[in-house]
Amino acid sequence: MPLETEARAQIRALVAEFRPEHGDLLAAMHSVQHHLGYLSSEAMEVIAEQLGLFPAEVYGAASFYEEFRFTPPAQTNIRWCSGPACRLKNGGGIRDAILATLGLHDIPGDTEDGRAGVILGQCNGACELAPMVWLEQPSTHRIEFVGNLNAARAVRMARALRDGATIEASIEETKRA
């Protein structure tokens, strides 16, 4: 038995309600990521114990999904909509401009100082706002929708985030011309 650290006890509490062979794995992983921001290897061990699985099975499942991450998240994530309506309105250029502004090469990616990250978004049916991104703050679960973007607005917004501006101030940047 691994040592019962405080962190481990906290994770254990988050998944205490879940049972083996009950279809609870996704819920357990969501619960941990929601509260702690990501799935640490310790968390996957605890989940495995709770659900009667091997840690490798938990990691195997977790790594299958776009949403789960294994390192702490950036302070603010830009979730870029990859959907068709956004793409028809230069969504691709907006993605490339954001990545270039943050010095990143691919999605998902985080800046070295952990201030900003870019993650993949899927169309959720608010296409009248295309092209759009979401700004998300994992620590507070805050989500802001930023629609009717263009590449120039996206560059201003990404620069503001990169330079440490708040979500509000970064969104304000998209409202200038």
Partner: protein, 631 residues
């Protein structure tokens, strides 16, 4: 022991009283549309502003909530219901419009005249019925969407008062046999709305006849096709409609438990479905003792985590069962081996949503709508380069040309270029097909195309069709579960080739290679692989001239990297310096007044043309003698 119907009537007494008071309130009520689209458009800020104004003025109004009516381009929208029962729809209502709405609601009729869209019920001098809006020209009658705008989607009592759960009470009271329930669905012609179009009643029969006591009824609410939000509208707009469909499904399949596998991208739908389950349990409509009959049905929402192939029913069942969500070969079919390895049945949200309507009104009523081959109505979501983005419920067989008209046509006076139905595994159909297309599966077959789950994207001539083909190529590649080399590797190669063609480096043998990949991917386990080459195949079939042009480095739409460049056209224009400042890669060189763009550094993001249109231009690359490598 009271009969199920008596239990139902007892619930109705309270429900009817509550709903009557909501429909004819003592003082005016402002209902803000709260759904994923309206929230994205700022509905929560609008609501906060309305409440602030009302509090400041001590205004005699109440607040409530509805789901948006379908016209998403005018979100955030707001409804005001007056004591006489008339309901007027307004939009877009921004924070700054809050005072006008509160004024209009509290007696200064006319204060918000310019925001009025129409009446939802009742009459108001000079305000047309919303049904006369051109967007609804093809909606003869709302069936699946009948409660939108007329109920609070979070209220079980509202659903009950609109005759909801009556059919299931009758069924659970054993006034209808399981077989009759299933046959009625088949008589109605209800087929699966998730893509495969299989008769629902027949599929239920497979699970009904499966051995053992543990049967699981599963709802596929993964709705992974980008551009489709049909299932979302049902779950956010009328969650009990889905629950009632599943409840009747539990009866028709002998299931005691079930799951709703709901995509993570729909947090509001998750919240509303979970709340609806709790409310139905508390009322004895779900749980251990449905309508006092002793029959149990327990439902749980399983939240997905962003994997498209978990929309495939075998992937979905693996995902529910604590495994990687990888699709597998069928058989075994879900009725033999499903959730947690027990016999199961999977249906789409909209398939279930049709069931209470058929159970209540009969199969003949159902067949009044639609065509001989495909009866009923279907919800579609329309997006892309159109004036009006939103959703509507139309009978199968509606003319797509008329739909485009209802959507206000193509934006900015441009021409329709391509129609994209059915998501990433769907198709790319040329504009020339529009006059012949109707919204039913068979109409798309001649174009080697699929209607799919209900998302339709209209693309204008602003983009090359390759832009969409590349997007879907990347999508199906990234979402491949990796089980089959044909699907995983084939889609990687396909994406590489499409990108190469777009970048002006196409090769002569790219086309035969694309066709070979297409043939090879047919040898893969699941429909994800098998259908993944469709959109590229459609490009070669229907847009061949455009593909050939891209191979030559030409592109009339100026949307392909290989055929275009960015250039400073007016070096002395003051805005050029803004362009220099915004360029994220520093591609501008030279001194002010004599700037130029280094083509090798430029990533074609368009930020410069956004801030200095005309001064910086995107133009066709000058024709250069080009070596076409062989092989």
């Amino acid at each position: 022991m009271p009969d199920a119907i008596e239990r139902y009537e007892a619930l109705r007494t309270t429900a009817d009283a509550e709903y009557a008071a909501w429909r004819n309130p003592l003082r005016p009520r402002i209902d803000v549309a709260i759904d994923q689209s309206s929230i994205s458009n700022g509905a929560l800020k609008t609501r906060a502003a309305l409440e602030r104004v009302a509090a400041e003025r001590n205004a005699a109004v109440d607040f409530g909530r509805v789901h948006g009516y379908g016209m998403q381009w005018v979100h955030p929208s707001v409804q005001v219901t007056f004591p006489d029962g008339a309901t007027v729809l307004y939009g877009p209502v921004r924070e700054a419009d809050a005072a006008a709405i509160v004024d209009e609601a509290t007696g200064r009729w006319g204060a918000a005249a310019t925001l009025r869209l129409g009446t939802i019920t009742g009459k108001r001098e000079g305000v047309p019925s919303i049904r006369q809006h051109p967007f609804f020209a093809l909606e003869p009658e709302r069936r699946l969407l009948r409660n939108l705008g007329l109920t609070d989607p979070e209220s079980l009592n509202h659903y009950l008062a609109r005759d909801g759960y009556r059919a299931s009470a009758r069924i659970f009271g054993r006034h209808v046999s399981e077989e009759v329930v299933r046959n009625t669905l088949n008589d109605a012609g209800l087929t699966g709305r998730g893509g495969a179009n299989f008769p629902a009643g027949t599929k239920w029969g497979f699970l009904f006849g499966a051995p053992g006591e543990e049967h699981y009824l599963v709802c596929n609410a993964d709705e992974g096709d980008p551009g489709a939000w049909v299932n979302r509208v049902v779950m956010e707009g009328d969650p009990h409609l889905l629950l009632e469909g599943m409840l009747i499904g539990a009866y028709g399949t002998k299931s005691k438990a079930g799951f709703i596998y709901l995509r993570d991208e729909y947090p509001l739908a998750i919240a509303r479905m979970e709340a609806a389950i709790r409310d139905a349990e508390a009322a004895g409509i779900l749980g251990d003792d449905i309508f006092g009959t002793g029959m149990p049905f327990h439902l749980r929402v399983i939240r997905g985590a962003g994997a498209y192939v978990c929309g495939d029913e075998t992937g979905l069942l693996a995902s529910i069962s604590d495994e990687r969500g990888m699709p597998r070969v069928k058989p075994p079919f879900p009725a033999a081996r499903g959730a947690l390895n027990k016999p199961s049945n999977v249906n789409n949200v909209e398939t279930f949503a049709n069931v209470p309507l058929i159970a209540a009104h009969g199969s003949e009523w159902y067949r009044e709508m639609g065509t001989k081959a495909q009866s009923g109505t279907k919800i579609f979501s329309f997006s892309g380069d159109i004036v009006r983005t939103g959703f509507m419920e139309v009978p199968f067989g509606a003319s797509l040309a008329k739909i485009l008209e209802a959507c206000g046509g193509i934006e900015g006076g441009r021409a329709l270029h391509a129609i994209q139905p059915g998501g990433p595994l769907g198709s790319l159909v040329p504009a020339s097909a529009l006059p012949k297309l109707t919204l039913e599966p068979a109409s798309f077959t001649p174009y080697d195309a699929m209607l799919g789950g209900g998302g339709i994207v209209f693309a204008s001539d602003r983009n090359s069709v390759l832009v969409l083909a590349e997007m879907f190529a990347q999508f199906v590649e990234e979402e491949s579960c990796g089980r089959c080399t044909t699907c995983h590797g084939g889609n990687q190669r396909k994406t590489e080739i499409i990108r190469r063609v777009m970048d002006g480096n196409g090769r002569r043998d790219d086309e035969p290679n694309l066709m070979m990949i297409d043939r090879t991917i047919q040898f893969s386990n699941c429909a994800h692989g098998q259908l993944s080459p469709k959109s590229m195949r459609n490009v070669l079939q229907h847009f061949h001239a455009e593909y050939e042009a891209a191979m030559r480095g030409e592109d009339a739409t100026l949307s392909l990297k290989g055929a275009t460049r960015f250039r400073v056209a007016q070096p002395r224009d003051a805005r050029v310096e803004e362009a220099v400042a915004i360029c994220p890669v520093g591609a501008f060189h030279g001194s002010p007044g004599a700037r130029s763009i280094d083509e090798a550094e430029c990533i074609h993001c368009q930020a410069c043309t956004d801030v200095a249109p005309g001064a910086v231009v995107r133009e066709a690359k000058p024709a250069a003698p080009r070596m076409v490598p062989i092989g």
